[in-house]
């Protein structure tokens, strides 16, 4: 069975439908890119998959031994208030919270895991720094390290590269790709960068007026993909 299955999913806010009758599945080790215009409902879809809001209709099923507390998440915007006092270390470690269950304190292994993930993201040197004093790219790495503490299996990323410079963007894509290839973590990522999506992803989900789901090869050959790719090259 697939890790995550969406069956005839309808979603939206206050009974107002944004996406209708969506069906797709994500298997272990997949790299799914969700693309579509602004406001087409990508973030809403992700929040629904995470159980932050309930779908209007249809079902979301998890399988393959995936439990609710084994999902990592990188939000589009983290509404961290301007003067929240939190160090990088505290934030990364808080990713281990889902492993704790009712246990009140973090174990040695969890602290080690947080250290390892900070190493992986190259942020060990500012463990003691204050989160809100970091640059956007550094903050994004901190949140990715936190998400990695929460999961070994499935990572959901909502526009992880928005606001990053081209160099850091490429590094970020590389990091995510390595997580998928080397650590076998399933990736579901929202992105506006079609070129990168086509380069790294194994599957594409296009939402909007036309819905498409399939492998990236199928996408390149499809109407939706050609349409979107054309638009992209017009702008560039």
């Amino acid at each position: 069975m697939a890790q995550l299955t969406c069956r005839n999913l309808s979603l939206g806010y206050d009974g107002l439908e944004i996406l209708h009758d969506l069906s797709f599945e994500v298997n272990a080790g997949d790299y799914l890119c969700i693309v579509g215009e602004n406001g087409s409902g990508k973030s809403t879809l992700m929040k629904t998959m995470l159980g932050l809001q309930s779908p209007i209709g249809g079902k979301i099923l998890t399988g393959d031994g995936l439990r609710e507390n084994e999902i990592g998440y990188l939000p589009q915007q983290t509404l961290v208030q301007r003067d929240f006092p939190a160090s990088v270390w505290e934030i990364v470690l808080s990713g281990c919270q889902s492993r704790c269950g009712m246990r009140p304190f973090y174990s040695k292994e969890e602290k080690q895991l947080a250290r390892d993930n900070m190493e992986k993201m190259g942020i060990s040197s500012f463990a003691k720094r204050c989160y809100r004093e970091l640059s956007g790219g550094q903050q994004q790495r901190v949140l990715l390290a936190r998400a990695l503490c929460a999961t070994q299996k499935l990572l959901l990323l909502d526009e992880p590269v928005s606001g990053l410079d081209p160099k850091v963007t490429q590094e970020m894509y590389r990091l995510i790709y390595d997580l998928n290839k080397n650590d076998g973590i399933t990736i579901i990522m929202i992105s506006h960068d079609i070129a990168a999506a086509v380069k790294y992803a194994s599957h594409i989900l296009h939402v909007g007026s036309e819905v498409f789901f399939g492998t990236k090869q199928e996408y390149i050959e499809s109407e939706a993909g050609r349409h979107f790719a054309d638009e992209g090259s017009d702008e560039g």
Binding site: P75, P85, S94, Q97
Partner: protein, 284 residues
Amino acid sequence: MSELFEKAAVYFEYPFVRYAIIVGVLISLCSSLLGVTLVLKRFSFIGDGLSHVAFGAMAIATVLRISNSMIFALPVTIICAILLLRTGQNAKIKGDAAVAMISVGALAIGYMLMNLFPASGNISGDVCSTLFGSLSILTLTETEVRLSAILSLAVILIFIFSYNKIFSVTFDENFSRATGTRAGAYNLLIAIVIAIIIVIAMNLVGSLLISALVIFPALSAMRIFKSFKSVTICSAVLSVLCSLTGILVSVLGSTPVGSTIVAVDIVVFFAFMFIGHFKRGAKA
């Protein structure tokens, strides 16, 4: 000066003075713990509203001549905390409007009841001490002292054991929810703890000044410290020192205990603001 010390020495002869000071320290310690969460989670309005509810409940308890009004005020305030949290979430009436309604309503009804059914000859004195705290912490009864001590210890223990969860839920509720932490349950816990703090802190500073006791130490600590842990520890230490100073000053100078403590808190806040500015200026 030595006269003051002698006066203090005389006071400390009495065991109930020492108990009162211990209770004052415990109350201020636990009220500072949730300060950061309250300030940052925009729960501070709930705290404010609840303190008015507690006032109403105390008034009703006085009218009904319940000997220990805390025993009555505690469950009422907790229930209101839970209700406010609920309405804040699925809002037909917006959260802060609901808070305003409940808090102003409780104030009005409380005051009216106290006037209609006066428990003692001195109504305005009663009202004043419920709003601004007892004139002196030394007037607390032994049961009140004991109950406050037990509740404070409970709050401190709860806080220590859910410290990490409170941090996660305060920092990023969506993330904790998405990764399987039961954020709703911890919000509820936070609300209940706030309610307990408010009821016990009413003894010390009265219902109008509680927010100051909860928020000032956290705001002061946030001027200088940058991690959640250091801010929490600093605000706990600050709160204890400020109320110790406040209690001593009020005993020796016969000033009202609540407002004296808050005044000390304010002085410390400005000192920290100054240091914070200075530190940042030095760096730049």
